[in-house]
């Protein structure tokens, strides 16, 4: 037996003001059109036992007159005062049950609302952690993208591109451990530390070491937080090429996409996680980006190993994807990788940040603005 709409809501009859109030109370308790509830069944069985009747319909009762607790029998008879008292107690029990249900429903609803609000806040915070637009670098094209794997959980991928005091440009891309609001806070700390450290001394390994010190200071003891990152410095040469110095801390290699289509990984092998180890090593490598060359940095669930379709295969898939295509510039590269990510669909189980830099074959007009 259930509490049903038909029992509580006499639909076609005209409604009095009292009836409107009663229906409002019924709605408030969210008891209409709900699935069968075992508690009401037990109450009905108990009523049937007390009255030795073949049937007991419970439609609830209380001060608001939500409904009534009814006992039915197949032949007319009198009930004792004792039995009536028991029926009242039973109605009170049913009411208690309704109150408890309502309180549980309210708790769950408010918890859900709080969680949704927290997730929205974390997503907003994360958006503020990425540059709204990349600056225009003279003689270079830059493009970036952020691919969120899940709408509910916020990852902690980050990137940035900014000028140094000496006319060179610095960039970084990385991934912090964890998810949600805590990851967003860690991302914020990481990003501003990297920018500040780069202004003081742009040696890529020194910048990563600086971040390592800051993370350990901020998260000491038993709850360490870490990140992985690639940090690079670009200097323009007279022949419109760029020199590139790149340091890595626990991050997958960046890829150089050469003008002739060759894909050259730029390994910073041996570089370790940032913020977790007592004396981490960071390694750096240098190369040239000539006109027609591009550099691609990415995060892709890099701190995950998963079989049988793990990021290792994804990494190989990425290399194959890069080798199979022809890429005009940074924008084209980022668009291509986004297509690959869309194609992989739910196989991508972590957020992915992309940053591509390319040197145009024909230098752009000289009056390009810097920001």
């Amino acid at each position: 037996m259930t509490v049903t709409g038909s029992a509580l809501r006499p639909s076609p009859a005209p409604r009095s003001a009292d009836e409107e109030r009663r229906l409002a109370a019924v709605d408030r308790y969210q008891i209409l059109d709900t699935p069968p509830d075992g508690t009401f069944d037990k109450g009905a069985a108990l009523a049937a036992r007390i009255f030795r009747t073949p049937a007991a319909a419970i439609t609830t009762a209380d001060g608001y007159h939500l409904g009534t607790v009814n006992v039915l029998d197949t032949h007319p008879r009198q009930v004792t005062a004792e039995q009536l008292a028991a029926l009242q107690n039973l109605a009170a029990l049913v009411m208690d049950q309704l109150e408890m249900r309502l309180s549980a429903i309210r708790t769950v609803t408010s918890e859900r609302q709080m969680r949704t609000a927290a997730e929205r806040l974390a997503r907003t915070l994360q958006r503020t952690l990425l540059p709204p637009a990349l600056p225009q670098v003279p003689g270079l094209r830059a493009a970036a993208a952020y691919h969120a794997a899940s709408a509910d959980e916020v990852g902690g991928d980050f990137y940035d591109l900014f000028p140094l005091d000496d006319g060179r440009w610095a960039f970084f891309l990385g991934d912090v451990c964890g998810r949600g609001a805590e990851a967003a806070a860690l991302t914020s700390l990481t990003r501003y530390t990297l920018r500040a450290a780069a202004i003081y001394g742009p040696d890529p390994c020194a910048v990563l070491a600086n971040l390592d010190t800051v993370l350990k200071g901020e998260y000491p003891g038993t709850d360490p937080r870490h990140c992985t990152a690639v940090f690079g410095v670009l200097g323009r040469t007279e022949d419109s090429s760029f020199t590139l110095t790149l340091a890595g801390g626990g991050h997958p290699p960046a890829s150089a996409v050469r003008a002739d289509g060759t894909i050259q990984p730029l390994p910073v092998t041996g570089g370790q996680l940032i913020g977790l180890l007592p004396e981490p090593r960071f390694t750096q490598t240098s190369t040239h980006l000539a006109p027609g060359d591009a550099l691609l940095l990415y995060t892709d669930g890099l701190t995950e190993a998963r079989t049988p379709s793990g990021p290792m295969r994804q990494e190989e898939g990425l290399a194959a994807h890069l080798a199979a295509g022809t890429w005009d510039d940074a924008d084209d590269l980022v668009a291509g990788i986004r297509r690959l990510l869309d194609h992989l669909g739910t196989g991508v189980n972590d957020d992915t940040a992309l940053l591509a830099l390319s040197v145009p074959i024909h230098p752009p007009a000289p009056a390009q603005e810097t920001r």
Binding site: D175, C177, G178, R179, T222, P224, R225, H226, T228, G249, G250, H251, P252, T269, G270, G271, Q272, L273, L276, L277, P278, P280, R281, G301, L302, T303, E304, A305, R306, T307, G310, M312, N349, D350
Partner: protein
């Protein structure tokens, strides 16, 4: 990835080392299980601890943090922690994050135990 499929069993090895066998996915959701199992082991100077990761199919950054924390705790007490049976994917991950230079790795638990007593 978050369907809570991680089992951790601890068994004292006859020659005096603890062997923790970790099977399934080690991530944000499941790592408390391994942390609890690790916390229950009393480490002392010379204690051998082998984490058999051959059944690990997935490991995220939280899992990495936990393994590094376990390694550091073992070091601080003079215990010897070995990771045994890393899959090629897991080894690849350790290389990228530079932990292959930190962890003591062995192909199997038996080899790890033998190395502890050599």
């Amino acid at each position: 990835m978050s369907n809570q499929t991680l089992t951790v069993t601890t068994s004292p090895h006859p020659v005096g080392a603890y062997v923790l066998t970790v099977t399934g996915e080690l991530d944000h959701h499941t790592s408390p299980r391994l942390r609890e199992a690790l916390d229950e082991i009393a480490l002392a100077t010379g204690t051998g601890l082998v984490i058999d990761v051959s059944g690990l199919t997935y490991c995220d950054s939280t899992g990495i943090t936990l393994l590094v924390t376990a390694y550091q705790r073992a070091q601080a007490t003079g215990a010897l922690l070995t990771l045994a049976g890393s899959s090629p994917d897991l080894l690849h991950l350790f290389r990228i994050v530079g932990l292959d230079q930190i962890f003591t790795l062995q192909p199997t638990t038996e080899q790890a135990i033998a190395a502890l007593h050599s």
